[in-house]
C-alpha cells in the first residue's frame, strides 16, 4: 500500500467518523477504496475525489445535532464558569458578597465546577468520537 493511499484512507476515515458514520460502513467504504486502488494502481485522489467529498456521498449530513448541542453547552459552561470564577475571586478579595448576594466561596466553587465540567465533557466527547481502533484499514 502506497503512502498516498494510506494518507487517503486516513483522511477518508476521519471524514466519515466526523459525520458519525457507523463503524461498519467506515470499514466497508475504506476497504473498497483500498481494494480498488491496490488492484488498479490508480491514484485514490483522482479516482474517488477529495476524501471529504467522497465521505459526503456516504454520509450527507454535514454536522450532527450532537455537535451543535455540544457547542452551545460549551459556550454556556465556559463563559458562565469563567464569569462566576472571576466574580467569586473578586468578591472574596474585596470581602463582599458575590453575584446575587451569595457568599463569594459559593460562586467561586460553582465557577470552578462549571469549568471542570466543561473540560471533562469535551474530553469525554472527544474520546467517544474517535475511531475505536484509531485506524480501520
Amino acid at each position: 500500500m502506497t503512502d498516498r493511499l494510506t494518507t487517503y484512507l486516513d483522511e477518508l476515515e476521519s471524514a466519515l467518523a466526523f459525520r458519525e458514520t457507523p463503524l461498519d460502513v467506515i470499514v466497508d467504504v475504506s476497504r473498497q477504496v483500498q481494494s480498488h486502488s491496490v488492484e488498479t494502481g490508480e491514484d485514490p485522489y483522482d479516482t474517488f475525489g477529495p476524501p471529504a467529498d467522497y465521505a459526503r456521498s456516504y454520509a450527507p449530513r454535514a454536522t450532527s445535532t450532537r455537535f451543535w448541542i455540544l457547542l452551545v453547552i460549551s459556550v454556556i459552561m465556559a463563559t458562565g464558569g469563567g464569569f462566576l470564577l472571576v466574580d467569586g475571586m473578586i468578591a472574596a478579595t474585596a470581602g463582599r458578597a458575590a453575584l446575587g448576594g451569595l457568599p463569594a466561596p459559593v460562586i467561586l466553587v460553582t465557577g470552578i465546577v462549571l469549568l471542570i465540567g466543561w473540560i471533562t465533557g469535551l474530553m469525554v466527547a472527544s474520546y467517544r468520537h474517535r475511531l475505536p481502533a484509531g485506524r480501520v484499514h
Binding site: 473498497q32 481494494s35 491496490v38 488492484e39 488498479t40 474517488f48
Partner: protein, 122 residues
C-alpha cells in the same frame, strides 16, 4: 482501439444506474469489473467516486447483496449480486428502457410529426 466519446454527464446520470444493475444481472461481479464493463460498453470511464456509492445505494435499497472475499495478501474484493427484488427491478428496467429509448430516439431524431397548429397565435 477506438477512444470512447465523452458523453454529457446528464445523459450518463440517467443511464448509469440501469446499466450497473444490468451488468450485475449477468453474474456476480465486483466494482472494478463493473467499471470495465461500462467502459467496454462505450459509456466511458466511470470513476470509483461515482460507481461505489451507487453500488452501496442499491445494496441499501435491497436490490443488491454483497460478500467480501479475501484476496491473496490484498484487501480482498467485494462481490455484488442481485437480490430477488433486484432481479425484478432489472426486468422492469429492461422492459421500460426499450420503450423509452424508442420514444427518445424518435423525438431526438426529429422524425416526429410537428404538432398541429390551431391557427391561434400572437
Amino acid at each position: 482501439m477506438t477512444e470512447s466519446p465523452t458523453w454529457p454527464s446528464e445523459w450518463l446520470r440517467g443511464v448509469l444506474g440501469p446499466a450497473v444493475l444490468s451488468i450485475v444481472a449477468d453474474g456476480e461481479t465486483y466494482g472494478y469489473l463493473v467499471a470495465q464493463r461500462l467502459a467496454e460498453a462505450g459509456l466511458g470511464v466511470v470513476k470509483g467516486g461515482t460507481l461505489y456509492p451507487l453500488l452501496t445505494r442499491y445494496e441499501t435499497d435491497g436490490l443488491l447483496q454483497s460478500t467480501w472475499r479475501e484476496g491473496e495478501g490484498g484487501p480482498g474484493r467485494k462481490y455484488f449480486a442481485l437480490t430477488p427484488a433486484g432481479r425484478t427491478e432489472v426486468e422492469r428496467i429492461r422492459r421500460d428502457w426499450q420503450l423509452f429509448a424508442t420514444a427518445a430516439g424518435t423525438a431526438i431524431a426529429g422524425t416526429t410529426s410537428p404538432p398541429t397548429t390551431t391557427g391561434e397565435g400572437p
